[in-house]
């Protein structure tokens, strides 16, 4: 059995590692609206061997698991299901903080093929914060049943990131998902996420003023524009993160409480 699994001809051997995922090569965060089959995707990747617990200091549930692909070890972190990242609730705060401070190597946003329009709200917000993202369009069997066709190629072009259709409960598309994640993690696929354009002159001039200052404080920040927009909005947690220097830290120790 292990011979087949380990062979690269087997489509990039996926080995499920259970939850002992210290020393992972890459960390992958799984985001998405509630009821998109995110848990099914998570299970498909990690097997049922995951560790569940709570996010540190919060009563929000979390799960973590791992797998190995093409000789690289991946740690998969399941973020709470949210409709957006604008931090109006603890769930959203946890999800956003993990993407911002946990700096996973890849973010995967699981969407429902039958509700794509609403799900894209979260996708676009994730793209604002996190460049290296893969969009997973799940529940494709449901879409087919309802006569909905998803043009994933066109969507990938429009969003600027890989889009993978899946039916996680039947294990369809999971191999493609694994490959897409791998290619983004290793840099083989370059993401050019589509970002929101602000048109109001007051907003753009405020952003122009802030951007160079943020660049000076935190050079090379991948989402400086998003941070600047939050500062203009007066988001208290982002203001605090910028002032305290926390924004620049890559919190590798963003461990799920065990």
């Amino acid at each position: 059995m292990s011979g087949c699994d380990g062979c690269s001809a087997h489509g990039g051997g996926l080995q499920r590692l259970g939850f002992k995922t210290t020393n992972a090569d890459y960390v992958v965060a799984l985001a998405g609206n509630p009821n998109t089959g995110k848990s099914t995707v998570f299970n498909a990747l990690t097997g049922l061997r995951q560790h569940t617990g709570n996010w540190p200091g919060k009563t929000v549930m979390s799960a973590e698991g791992g797998y190995s692909y093409n000789n690289k070890r991946y740690r998969l972190v399941d973020l709470p299901g949210t409709y957006s990242l604008l931090a109006a609730s603890t769930d959203e705060e946890v999800a956003r903080d993990y993407l911002l401070f946990g700096r996973p190597h890849v973010a995967v946003v699981v969407t429902d093929a039958t509700r794509l329009e609403r799900n894209l709200n979260l996708v676009l917000q994730v793209l604002e914060i996190h460049e290296r993202t893969v969009v997973c369009v799940n529940l494709m069997d449901e879409a087919k049943r309802k006569g909905i066709e998803v043009d994933d190629r066109r969507l990938a072009r429009d969003l600027g990131v890989p889009v993978v259709p899946t039916t996680a409960r039947r294990n369809e598309g999971i191999r493609d998902l694994l490959r897409a994640i791998h290619e983004v993690a290793t840099g083989e696929t370059v993401c050019r996420p589509r970002r929101v354009e602000f048109t109001a002159p007051e907003v753009t001039s405020a952003l122009e003023t802030l951007l160079p200052k943020i660049d000076a404080l935190y050079p090379g920040l991948p989402n400086a524009r998003w941070v600047a927009a939050r500062l203009v909005e007066g988001d208290p947690s982002i203001v605090q993160a910028v002032e305290s220097g926390r924004l620049g830290e890559v919190r590798e120790e963003y461990e799920v409480a065990r």
Binding site: Y83, S84, L86, A88, S89, T114, R115, L116, E117, R118, N121, E233, G234, P236, V239
Partner: protein, 344 residues
Amino acid sequence: MEPNPILALVVAAVLVMVGVLLVHPRRGALARIRRLRLREEHIAAEDVLKILFARTETGEPTSLPDLIALQREDGVRGSRAIERLRRDGLVHIDQEGVELTRRGSAVASDLVRAHRLWELHLAEETGYDQREWHGRADRMEHRLEGESIEQLSRRLGSPVLDPDGDPIPGAGGTPVPSAEGRPIESVEVGSTYRITHLEDEPQDLYADLVDRGLYFGMRFRLLQRDGGGFELENDGRRIEIPRVLAAGILVEPCEDLEEGAVRLADVAVGARAQVLGITTQGRGAERQRFLDLGFVPGATVDVEFRSAGNDPTAYRVKSSLVALRREQAAKIRVRPVAATGGAV
């Protein structure tokens, strides 16, 4: 008969316990009563400060008898509170009346700041009914101080207005501008206006205004006015305001009231509408949730079905079904459209 020693012991023990319960320095009943009384005096004193602060706009001192009549305590307690303020250097009393000192002004301003910030907190971060905000803030303002007020302000985004349009004083007693707008007496029939301020005291009048459907930020057209009061039209609803309530409303003219707007709650099952926006009553996390679910300007909403008890209703927006209660759907402003597209 000799006294039973055991009985004597028990009685003595009970007496000692009762004694301790009374005179224990911290937990004893007497100590608690004393603390309660001190607290009440403290609150009474702060209430006097607030009254004086509210009257500083007129620029004239308040006579002592007037002040005693205005505040809530009986005459004896009230004058004790005023005397205490004088001793603490927070007010100045001469033959013309009572005036806030600079320090008293700063303390009063901080009280008002705490009160209005707390009201905004209740409006944006809790589900308490609008009619309760003022009463709860009245009690809470005496407990907030210093750093916790500043933290509250920062968390709310350093706001300048409370949920009824009252300006929030800055930290450290900076002078607060009065609320914007003109009295509703000044309105002309046929013109459109926006409510810039709703007076939240006295509370029963405020509750009446709220019951009639008024709120800060509401835009309306004036339909009629006469000796008895005013008749407004807002989003398809007619509202009558008797003259006695009108004094609590400030307005300013507005140009952008959309034609044919209604509330989503008023749209019949089977109909379709296009979202214009969320009313100012939708605040904080609730507002954000409406937007995240897809109730953004321009979105098409279909009213699919209503549950047996008339509440909640299922709406289809952004290709998914969302259930909203009537009071939630009442905060979404829409324009009905024909089911095949195009305005009705």
